[in-house]
């Protein structure tokens, strides 16, 4: 623990070849760290076999090392009577040390990787081999309730930061032998483990290959945050709409894998990515499946209607109010006119002002400490609601419209989609203010063009609404039919086995 900062070389001299697997080389690389422990052991005083034990304090479980590595090394008779290193290695190979996972390596880089992942290395200098034991014992977060996607009628576990725990959760939910969990390494400095999860014989191999190729092509330093992997995998970074679904609930993750999609789990991120992601998938919430299908269909259909409503309504309102005043019923226009008398700004400016101030409120609410959160929300309502209306800066009807529309945009189950909709709303308002309903049409054409052109891993973004091929539209998109109607997997991702039931 309390060791000098400048450590002198304690062991054999470094060999001329830096890439050789010797303890001297390892000490040069790792010796300066204060949490790396290097220890020299001597077995069998008669023949004087020297082993070096290297582990990282904090990553390796000290109890395992002392109980299951050191004890048998010194108490086992066979090991103590070994003649030379080669025999010792052979004996350890046969299982005389009581740790279940064991690796024999000849490469220094791989040894370094294993040591820095929490393993303990026993290095035999003369044979230039190392034996690695998996003794991971670092602190990890316990499985807790999901923070955002909380549902009453479903399992309440969520992903955690450790990849091994996540894969264990998945294995517990999908017990078939066809479940495949492949491992990749991403990131030059962080060397993060990334797992690809799919079901062999069910998922289309083209998608799996594409995922593997894209992950292998990532050439960056760090893979810690989400942006580093998401931006490199997705098809079009310039589009605000997300093309990869992400979730923190393992049951949603597993359901999607069984449908035929591919899942990606990243070490140190409590998020599971699901690929390919289509727009229809972002509007499906797990609550729909927990409720009766009639109510679930109603809510889901309402979600689709609200998608259109929140996007187009402020722009439509501005367009009709400026250019097509004869479309509004007479009593309504008299009421709006009366509410608007004396107000300073024109309607377009008002609506843009309120939309921007709502965005500011959202952003500020993320940063508020909890103790003053209440006060800020009161100030927000007062400023935007009461005071601004009384000061004749905005009129009450625009507050009403924008408040309704903002609440409608929060109904979307995925937050990225909600953000994208809020951004496109501005574009619609500007177009509507310039050209009236004609402008709304132009903006709508641009929007649909952008969405229809988008693809996610070869699957069109708007499928199954867009592509033909005898796709059943209503099964799980606009409405949720009871489970006995959903006999096939979604055809747009081309699974190898179509039948799901019966």
């Amino acid at each position: 623990m309390f060791e000098k900062n400048n450590k002198e070389l304690q062991f054999t001299e470094p060999s001329k070849n830096v890439n050789e697997l010797t303890s001297g080389n390892l000490e040069i690389i790792l010796g300066i760290n204060s949490d790396v422990k290097i220890r020299k052991l001597i077995i069998n005083e008669k023949t004087n076999i020297q082993i070096t034990m290297i582990y990282v304090d904090g990553l390796a479980n000290q109890a395992f090392i002392s109980d299951y590595i050191l004890k048998p090394l010194y108490n086992n008779e066979k090991l103590n009577n070994a003649q030379d290193s080669k025999e010792l290695i052979k004996l350890i190979d046969e299982g005389n040390i009581y740790i279940s996972s064991q690796l024999k390596l000849y490469d220094i880089n791989k040894t370094l990787d294993e040591i820095l992942s929490g393993g303990t290395a026993l290095i035999f200098d003369d044979c230039k081999t190392s034996i690695i034991f998996d003794t991971k014992g670092f602190e990890k977060r316990a499985i807790s309730e999901p923070s955002v996607e909380n549902i009453t009628k479903a399992a309440k576990d969520s992903f955690v930061e450790t990849i091994r725990v996540n894969t264990s959760i998945i294995r517990r939910k999908i017990k078939t032998a066809n479940l495949v969990i492949e491992n990749l390494v991403v990131g030059r400095q962080t060397i993060t483990n990334v797992a690809i999860v799919y079901i062999k014989g069910l998922t289309n191999t083209n998608i799996v290959d594409e995922v593997r190729n894209r992950l292998n092509a990532i050439n960056i330093d760090s893979a810690i945050g989400t942006v580093n992997i998401e931006e490199f995998i997705c098809d079009d970074v310039n589009c605000v709409f997300p093309q990869i679904a992400n979730t923190e609930r393992p049951d949603k993750f597993c359901n999607d894998i069984i449908e035929g999609r591919v899942g990606i789990i990243v070490d140190n991120l409590p998020i599971g990515y699901i690929v390919p992601g289509t727009l229809v998938q972002f509007l499906q919430a797990p609550e729909d499946y927990g409720r009766n299908y009639i109510f679930g269909s109603f809510i889901r259909f309402m979600r689709y209607c609200l998608l259109g409503f929140t996007l187009i309504f402020p722009g439509f309102f501005v367009a009709v109010l400026y250019y097509h005043q004869e479309m509004i019923p007479t009593r309504l226009i008299l009421a709006i006119s009366k509410a608007h008398t004396g107000v300073v700004f024109p309607m377009v400016i008002e609506i843009i002002y309120i939309l921007i101030s709502f965005e500011i409120l959202y952003e500020a609410s993320l940063r508020i400490p909890r103790t003053i959160g209440q006060a800020i929300s009161i100030i927000g309502t007062l400023v935007i609601g009461q005071a601004a209306v009384d000061a004749k800066i905005i009129s009450p009807i625009t507050v009403l419209i924008v408040a309704t529309v903002s609440i409608a945009s929060l109904v979307m189950p995925n937050q990225d989609v909600s953000n994208a909709l809020r951004l496109w709303r501005f574009i619609f308002v500007i177009f509507g203010g310039i050209l009236g309903l004609y402008g709304i049409n132009i903006a709508l054409i641009l929007f649909i063009f952008k969405m229809a052109k988008l693809e996610s891993f070869g699957v069109p973004y708007l499928s199954p609404i867009v592509s033909g091929d005898d796709q059943k539209l209503l099964e799980d998109t606009l409405f949720r039919f009871p489970m006995k109607f959903q006999k096939t997997r979604p055809k747009n991702i081309n699974p190898l086995d179509i039948k799901r039931q019966g």
Partner: protein, 398 residues
């Protein structure tokens, strides 16, 4: 390098398309928009003969007063109207010149009523409606009314004791026509259709100001909807009022509901409510002359009995039926006589003859007015009494 060139080409194409969309739309005065509260939203339009110059038109506009009232006593202030009047040689000129005296932009897209004064209608109504139909901003489904006995300006500019807003009053009057069926809502589109037909004539609803007793036995004036104004081509000739107008409705199949008052054998009056009334016009060609049969079917309920004696026998119902038939026959006959005497074909009998005998119609169509004055038209009425509502015998009868 190729990738950048392709992207540049695509962006140039997109920008040029957007440019064409935005700036070459063909809309006049780009961008033409007016703030909502900078608009006079005109609710009713009145057209009269000019005062200074008899050849001119006088236009009255009514819009609602949307200024805020700080006077809390005056609750009805929200119902006050703002009137703007101008006189000029043509209607469009008068409407445009209003901009010289109005302090806001005038917007005609919400006009709900057009009222035309009687004097102007007696001269020629066609030239007043040309502008309204031609311009794209005014609606064509708005009702037209003729002001009987006074000018349109006096109707629109009236303020009675309750300070009710005139377009609201007219709105309610026209909504409740179905209850009595004395008149009907004639929209601008209907007038255009019937002006376009060469051999038929138009009828338009008429309104009139009336004095009734108000609170504290003061007299207040209110607007009354009382019948039709009958036109011969484009000139107003006369009015059909009250029951005569309902007779015209019987023949034209425009009855929604109404009350028929009959007098029974003892001299008391009872009332029956019309449930359904249909009519059919059948032209016939007998002995080289045209004749027509109008058959009217009426189904009613007994609604009010003012007699106290013992009632309800089968003969009584037959008696009611006969009396009812006479009443309807009389109303329809008076309307028919009126139209035949003046030579105005307001029931579109010429149209029916054209549909049934097109070749013969060709020969006589030039003399249609004379032929119509002498044509023999029979009216058959069939009535049926359906029920007596909740009770059977009147109350208090043993």
């Amino acid at each position: 390098m190729k990738k950048i060139k392709i992207k540049r080409k695509i962006s140039i194409v997109i920008f040029s398309i957007l440019f064409i969309f935005i700036f070459l739309t063909g809309c006049n005065y780009f961008p033409k928009f007016v703030e909502i509260d900078d608009n006079f939203i005109v609710l009713a339009l009145g057209i009269d003969k000019g005062i200074e110059n008899k050849d001119n038109f006088r236009v009255t506009l009514v819009t609602k007063d949307l200024r805020e009232t700080t006077d809390t006593k005056q609750e009805g202030g929200a119902n006050k109207g703002v009137f703007v009047k101008f006189e000029s040689a043509t209607i469009f000129d008068a409407i445009r010149r209003i901009h010289t005296i109005a302090y806001k932009d005038v917007f005609y897209g919400h006009i709900e009523f057009i009222i035309i004064g009687e004097e102007l209608a007696r001269e020629n109504i066609n030239k007043t409606l040309d502008f309204i139909v031609r311009n794209y901003e005014l609606r064509t489904m708005m009702p037209i009314l003729i002001a009987r006995g006074i000018t349109a300006e006096e109707i629109l500019d009236s303020e009675d004791e309750y300070e009710n807003f005139v377009p609201n009053i007219l709105d309610e009057l026209l909504k409740n026509i179905g209850g009595h069926s004395i008149s009907k809502v004639v929209s601008l589109k209907d007038v255009c259709v019937s002006f376009n037909s060469e051999y038929g004539d138009t009828i338009i609803g008429s309104i009139h100001k009336k004095n009734i007793q108000g609170e504290n036995s003061k007299e207040i004036t209110t607007i009354e909807l009382d019948g039709y104004a009958v036109f011969n081509k484009f000139k107003l000739i006369d009015f059909l009022l009250q029951n005569n107008a309902r007779g015209a409705n019987f023949i034209n199949n425009d009855i929604n509901s109404g009350i028929i008052v009959i007098e029974d054998a003892t001299g008391k009056k009872n009332s029956l409510e019309i449930l359904e009334a249909t009519s059919k016009i059948e032209p016939k060609y007998i002995n080289n002359t045209f004749e027509a049969n109008i058959s009217i079917k009426v189904i009613t309920n007994i609604d009010e009995i003012q007699n106290e004696e013992n009632y309800f026998t089968v003969e009584l119902i037959d008696e009611f039926n006969n009396k009812q038939k006479n009443v309807v026959l009389q109303e329809a006959q008076s309307a028919l006589n009126f139209s035949q005497q003046n030579g105005v074909d307001i029931f579109n009998i010429g149209d029916e003859i054209y549909h049934k005998y097109p070749l013969k119609w060709d020969k006589i169509k030039d003399n249609w007015k004379e032929i119509y004055k002498q044509m023999k038209i029979n009216i058959n009425v069939e009535t049926k009494i359906n029920g007596t509502h909740i009770i059977y015998d009147p109350i208090g009868v043993k």
